[in-house]
Symmetry: C2
């Protein structure tokens, strides 16, 4: 999506060669008008796919998912990192390595909100090594839910996650795919 690529070129910051900071518009400060444009693009790409629910993972996927959900007219469920006392025992659970915090996080979804009748669109801000998205796919599989595909804002196409997940037959629609980057340069696929 040209609008997202241009924004990344303008406001993204490459650090240490492989960290792309987009925190001024995507995952700390959030430009909700840009999110609406992204939501419209996924709605176009997944039109007719029968999506009835969006599944994302906290925290930075939530805003994008909620605004995209308005385009689909469906609710959002967000997978929670670690168990909270407000969630009853009946949960689907998967372990996901945390890129930002290190270590592993327990990620859960209440069984009340995912099931065999669902056809999901998975949404997340980043796809790099694919761990978070594979966690969401695992949760969907546990629930017996169908997956229409995944909508990703920024894919680091030089990391292996996207290829591995597409090889499983999952449709992945990334709105900006970065082929290579370094200090002062970002090249899109």
């Amino acid at each position: 999506m040209r609008e997202l690529e241009e924004r990344i070129r303008r406001d993204g910051i490459v650090e240490n060669g492989d960290v792309l900071k987009v925190d001024s518009f995507l995952n700390h400060q959030m430009d909700v008008e840009l999110f609406a444009a992204m939501g419209r693009e996924w709605a176009r790409l997944f039109a007719g796919e029968g999506v009835n629910k969006i599944l994302t993972i906290e925290a930075s996927g939530i805003g994008i998912a909620c605004i995209a959900a308005q385009q689909f007219g469906v609710p959002v469920v967000f997978a929670k990192k670690s168990r909270t006392k407000n969630i009853a025992g009946d949960v689907y659970r998967v372990q996901v390595p945390s890129f930002t915090h290190g270590g592993m996080s327990d990620v859960i979804v209440s069984k009340r909100f995912l099931g065999p009748g669902d056809r999901l669109l998975l949404i997340d801000d980043f796809l790099a090594n694919g761990a978070a998205l594979e966690g969401l796919l695992d949760l969907a599989e546990q629930a017996g839910a169908a997956v229409a595909g995944a909508g990703i804002a920024v894919e680091k196409a030089f990391q292996p996650g996207g290829a591995r997940i597409r090889a499983r037959g999952v449709r992945v629609e990334s709105l900006a795919r970065i082929k290579s980057m370094g200090s002062g340069h970002i090249e899109f696929c």
Copy 2:
């Protein structure tokens, strides 16, 4: 707001006398059409207040804040729990007790995204003892930002947070204020 009160009556579950579960529409599964109605109500209440940014706290405030922000035409900043390696050193920082996880969380906002030129609307899903909202007020004060007020989805008015924060002169607009509750009964103010 009648629509939110009716939804709480219909789908909210009171557990252990003082825990209100609204996870089927507010903070795990999320009804984005309801969020849009809430956003319109806050936009009406805070019209003319010069809000230029919404500040919330991860994770369950983010979806509500993003959809409300569309009504104001402003960006959202969400305060992050614990430091991540994607955030540079220059952050405002406050400690907030965690109701759901126990213990204290370090909550941070990058200094790049809050400053003296900002006039903030604070958004969160719940107000009970007030700790999270006081954390956001503290972050705003550190930044020298003005606060137009706080938009809360559900206030437990029988707990002390709302009264204490209003006594500081902060305008708090809660869309559903619960006077009392118990198993099978919820009374609004």
